[in-house]
Subunit: 484 residues, 2 copies
């Protein structure tokens, strides 16, 4: 942990009664505080519901944060809940509280606004921030937006304009919490600080790239949002395209945020639009243990929203010429795991060619369930001369760095407070991502791509397997030993 | 375990009262028998001492082989001890026993002679075998020689001629037990069944290769032999040159024994003679826990025999142009371990260049203390943006294949019985190895290379570190987590 102290900021969280604030945002701020990275910064929690500070703390279940009561008490002293009706743009109280705490804590006007809200409330909230005078005076004014940033390119562009009236791009932090995950952040180091990887990271050595983000849960309480969004908007537009960008990008000029984002956006712009035959969408139907998608709360009984998507795309440049990127993501799958598998071409001399047990070499970066970087290779079975078996070299992240890998949101707050935009998506990245996703959505509609049912708690529609089989390939399934 | 049965052979072991027979040969044969690979083959143990079968079984401590008394009894039924005076070439009894057992077990004349003897007894023993008529009749007649095969090129050539009078090259098995080690055998599979390794196995990717065979023991009861031999003859001529050959060879045409040996011998012939400045020899002196080399039993009090050697050499071909092979091996070092470290060149784009913590990537093949294949790389330290730490991807052989990795001698007997010469050194390999070693020995004498004292239980003379430091390099020291 980098113990460098960060100068005080007033943190204003909008959407403070939501799940995200409760489960991720406030706990992450507490961990930063508890580790001495931040002092007792004022945290102003804004929600719609009327609630006392005591009730809010109870809602947060703050007693469970720490056994050190003294420490906890100090933290709570600067935490306030305040209810605001966005429709009324009335905010004397908010303005006053912020001002009082700013002075008390010596924040010198430095403020962070964190909008843990659906995108259609972004505009109103910015209006409120402006109208309350929270942007006045000296000090930095940074603003963070939870994903999704819009629901398509058009809505994103409208948002962008609204935000641009009050904030400069360098003060805007578009959150994609995947970028805060340690192993995702690590991709840059893996690729560019290791000659082994640098060497083979191209079409000469790589046969294909496979990205799987599988969730075993359904849509839980998010039916209202999810049924409008679907897997493509919810997962592809942000997490998956960001992973493709990190895996695919050219070496950046430096590790500066903008040098990295310059390279990432080039990948996003170079992505080939998905073709009809390379796209599979699905929706889960009930199995003995779970209800089907259409019976979830707040979901249309005739919904045609996809809860699963698999596709193939290519990056149109010389490094990746002819290397397919296969992607799949879905809800209510048989297990929860996220991994990127870099499958190598077989360029061996062929003396082991006839061995049926010979597997492709795979470099596997996993963020879930346990973080690891692994290498699947072929080893000789003892006491045989030529018989091969797949074997795995494993790097268990937790084993090396201890169990206290920071949560994504902890890392993101840390970067946000330091003013480092590297782990946040820039406007041109968002734009390119929506363009890719809009194309996909348009094709589904125009070409009437069939929504395939898949059994809940399964591996998704069989067609996601055919997608690879057609090319003579398979989804890789790597069994670890240590980081189970 | 390949359970294919092997047709019966009479195994005749010369030097049966030696350490090797007791600790390795007979136990390995028992394991093969116990696993059903061989039936109760007749094992005729030949020694100089007079001893009853009972006394010999006691010497073997055979009771400890197995709890299954019935199984053990069956094995012992076909095991005989017989004393023979090589100087007398008298062998009626030996001939008779072999004949009786051959008939009893249906060996059909198939015989294996295993000479666990010093090389200067090889000639006499072959004479005896011939004179006793053991080479007469139908059936295969294979002969195995323990290393060393001679003490220099000249003596090896004399031996070769003597043996050649009675045996064909395809029946001669020159043992180098290192080749029976599972991970050493595995080098061929690693290199030629994995595109990742195949890709980078050359001067474009590899900066240098480091081979360490360190022993923590002294010379024990082998003073008489060792003081005449020294580390160069005892370790370099066989184990180390074989490792260099396996690591360095071009892809063989096939996995056949001779195709592999054709490639290995090319490497041995292409090895650059070691230069004066690239050679370090040492001899251990006492430390509080151990006596010095010159005080070991059966060692000359003024001995100038080296118990440690380190050197640098090159393979003169285009694959290895400019890639140094650094080697070190010694007795009474601070720990016992054997590993081959393939150190990669830094070809990264340089954005992490300034990080002091950045390490070279290393592929490490270890045979001792635990067998493993590991990859040392750079990972990002959590909660930092650019700070690197060395990390290790580990493949623990035992974890994957279970603790029952065959002992080297088990594998060697298995191959010997199957008539597969792949794990044994061919005459031209032996010749090329002695030529390399003779050059080294000659230079030591002619150029008066200084014998450096090193403290027992240390890492050897400091000069072995300077050997690399001079080139801006260091001996790699890789810390494992799982296969400790």
């Amino acid at each position: 942990m980098n113990k460098e102290k960060i100068s005080p900021h007033t943190v204003v969280i909008f959407g403070a009664t939501g799940d995200l604030a409760k489960k991720k945002l406030i706990p992450s701020l507490y961990r930063l505080y508890s580790q001495g990275v931040i002092d007792e910064f004022p945290i102003i929690c804004v929600g719609r519901k009327r609630m006392s500070d005591e009730a809010y703390l109870k809602f947060l279940d703050i007693g469970k944060y720490d056994k050190d009561r003294k420490k906890l008490k100090k933290f709570v002293k600067h935490l306030r809940y305040i209810d605001v009706d966005l429709n009324k743009s009335m905010c004397f109280e908010l303005a006053e509280i912020v001002q009082v705490f700013d002075k008390k804590c010596g924040c010198a006007g430095n403020k962070i606004f964190y909008l843990a809200l659906p995108y259609f409330l972004f505009g109103k909230t910015i209006g409120l921030i402006k109208n309350c005078g929270l942007l006045n005076g000296r000090g930095s004014k940074k603003i963070a937006f939870e994903k999704p940033f819009g629901s398509d390119l058009k809505s994103a562009e409208i948002l962008h304009k609204q935000i641009g009236r009050f904030f400069r791009e360098e003060d805007i932090y578009r959150v994609d919490h995947y970028l805060g995950k340690e192993l995702v952040e690590n991709i840059v180091a893996l690729r560019f600080a290791n000659s082994l990887f640098e060497h083979l990271w191209n079409t000469d050595s790589i046969d294909n790239v496979q990205i799987t983000l599988a969730e075993d849960i359904g849509i839980e309480n998010r039916g209202g949002y999810y049924d409008k969004s679907g897997a493509i908007r919810d997962m592809v537009q942000n997490h998956i395209l960001q992973l493709i960008a990190l895996v695919g990008m050219e070496p950046p000029k430096s590790l500066n945020a903008d040098d990295i984002r310059n390279e990432k956006v080039k990948v996003l712009k170079n992505l080939r639009s998905v073709r009809k035959k390379d796209l599979v969408i699905g929706q889960y139907v009930k199995d003995p243990d779970s209800i089907g998608y259409r019976n979830e709360k707040n979901v249309d009984k005739k919904s045609i929203t996809e809860s699963f998507v698999a596709f193939k795309t290519y990056i149109n440049n010389s490094r990746w010429r002819g290397v397919p990127f296969y992607v799949r993501t879905g809800k209510r799958m048989n297990k929860k795991y996220s991994e990127i598998n870099i499958v190598l071409k077989d360029v061996t001399c062929g003396i082991f060619q006839r061995e049926r047990a010979k597997h492709a070499n795979v470099i596997s970066i996993r963020t879930n369930p346990k973080e690891s970087v692994d290498f699947l290779f072929n080893a000789k079975i003892p006491f045989t001369r030529n018989e091969l078996k797949e074997a795995v070299m494993e790097f268990c992240h937790k084993c090396e760095f201890g169990p206290n890998t920071p949560e994504a949101y902890e890392t993101l707050f840390h970067q946000l407070l330091q003013g480092n935009q590297g782990l946040f998506t820039r406007w041109d990245e968002v734009k390119a991502s929506w363009r890719f996703v809009d194309n996909m959505k348009r094709m589904i509609k125009n070409k009437r791509i069939k929504l395939l049912p898949y059994r809940a708690n399964s591996e998704g529609p069989n067609e996601s397997f055919s997608l690879l089989r057609r090319d003579g390939r398979n989804w890789k399934n790597i069994k670890r030993r240590f980081a189970l």
